[in-house]
Amino acid sequence: MQTDVLIIGGGPAGLSAAIEAASRGLDVTIVDEANQLGGQLNQQTQELRPLPSIYESMRGFELAHKLIEQIKDYNVRQLLNHRVVGFYADGSAGITDEENVFPVNAKKIIVASGAAEKAVAFPKWTMPGIMTIGAAQTLINRDFVMPGREAVIVGSSDFAMETAIQLMDVGIRVKAIIEKQSGTAAKEQEKVSELTRKGIPFYFNSFIKEARGNGQVEQIDVALPDEVITLNVDLVCMDGGRAPILDVFYQLGCSFGFQEELGGWVPQYNNRLQTDREDVFIAGNAAGISTHGPLLLTGMIAGISASEELQAISHAEAHEMREALWKELGLLEYKEVYSGRVKHLENFASPVLKDQFIS
């Protein structure tokens, strides 16, 4: 199979990149492991803001619908229930539908592989009933299944706070938020206040000492600063933060740089969202963990840059659009994330991790 632009990942960043490339007449192929486009947006019921100025404020699944509607206007090939398992020696992506593996040869590749949730290890964290916050959110909002009745949340990022509220909305009792630091990690205090108002205790400087249960979690010991308390719970949701998903970039031979504000190791890229492999672009959380506005904007920038290289848009026009999008990115993104991104761009010329593996 031949295509102009292969987009790996059909979440918000991949879709906005697809819209940019396909609207300029390019042949675009999106590959996604799930059975529908939209990525994690599909189970996000919270209001997303701020979004780029071309979108009004809306909920996650509504944004997914909107983006999917938009790509319907163009001829975008959708490889759903398909995944990239590797790359051929000639650079084609090896894509499988579980029955076959076939090569897709693309002039440009945009990787929007997203973020992975990191784990929090404590004794017996491997027991059933102990899962990531993303898994719990998927269960209630995509599968319409109650993962438990009485829960605790370990960690206090914005994602954790949103999930805690959504769990309560479907009738799950959230018994506590357990945070090892002395304050919440959430940047938006609004949701923290909402949980506090609802009477959810926040245990700071605390951690799970042990989980117990017969075949599934039934009880946890929580080490508070001056005592250990026992809670009966059948659901523990962990929030260990998120990190960019890198395996596709690794296979493509891209170099990486470490940028704490962007979530750790991140593929190197320039202000065109182009990696050091010139035919490979990057977008979304893979380019640094951020909020929905920046995810869409990086997707748009990557889509425009790939279109520019394929002569579907003039250099001058691409340059001007990128300038405007970067400006908006600077306004929408959390300050520390944006400054991490700027540092990351500066490091593009001097990659840290490149071909360091001998094995």
Partner: protein, 107 residues
């Protein structure tokens, strides 16, 4: 428990299907993942770990951690969080590594 009426998304479970877990029938709805459908029926233990034989269940729900491996319609080590339920689907716990060696022309 299935969420019959979601506070934001309303009623979304329309097409009931029957699945069999370790030969027992359970009700699920089309579009749910196997792991989720079992959890709705109170089944959280989907299998055991390879070495210490400890209970394992859904962990990441993104097809990454492989904690939810199960045997589905005779196929071992299927990620049950990434597999949609189908009517009549036969699902078994993941109790062991599958047998990968087999005799060629055994018959």
């Amino acid at each position: 428990m299935h969420i019959e009426k979601h506070p934001v998304l309303g009623r979304q479970l329309h097409k009931p299907v029957t699945i069999y877990f370790n030969d027992q029938p359970y009700q699920a709805y089309a579009q749910q993942s196997v792991a989720a459908a079992l959890m709705a029926n109170g089944i959280k233990k989907l299998g055991v770990s390879r070495k210490l034989v400890q209970s394992r269940g859904l962990f990441c729900s993104r097809g990454r951690c492989c904690s939810c491996y199960m045997t589905i319609d005779g196929e071992d080590h299927v990620r049950s969080c990434m597999t949609e339920v189908e009517d009549g689907m036969r699902i078994n716990s993941n109790m062991d590594d599958p047998e990968v060696r087999r005799e060629i022309n055994a018959d």
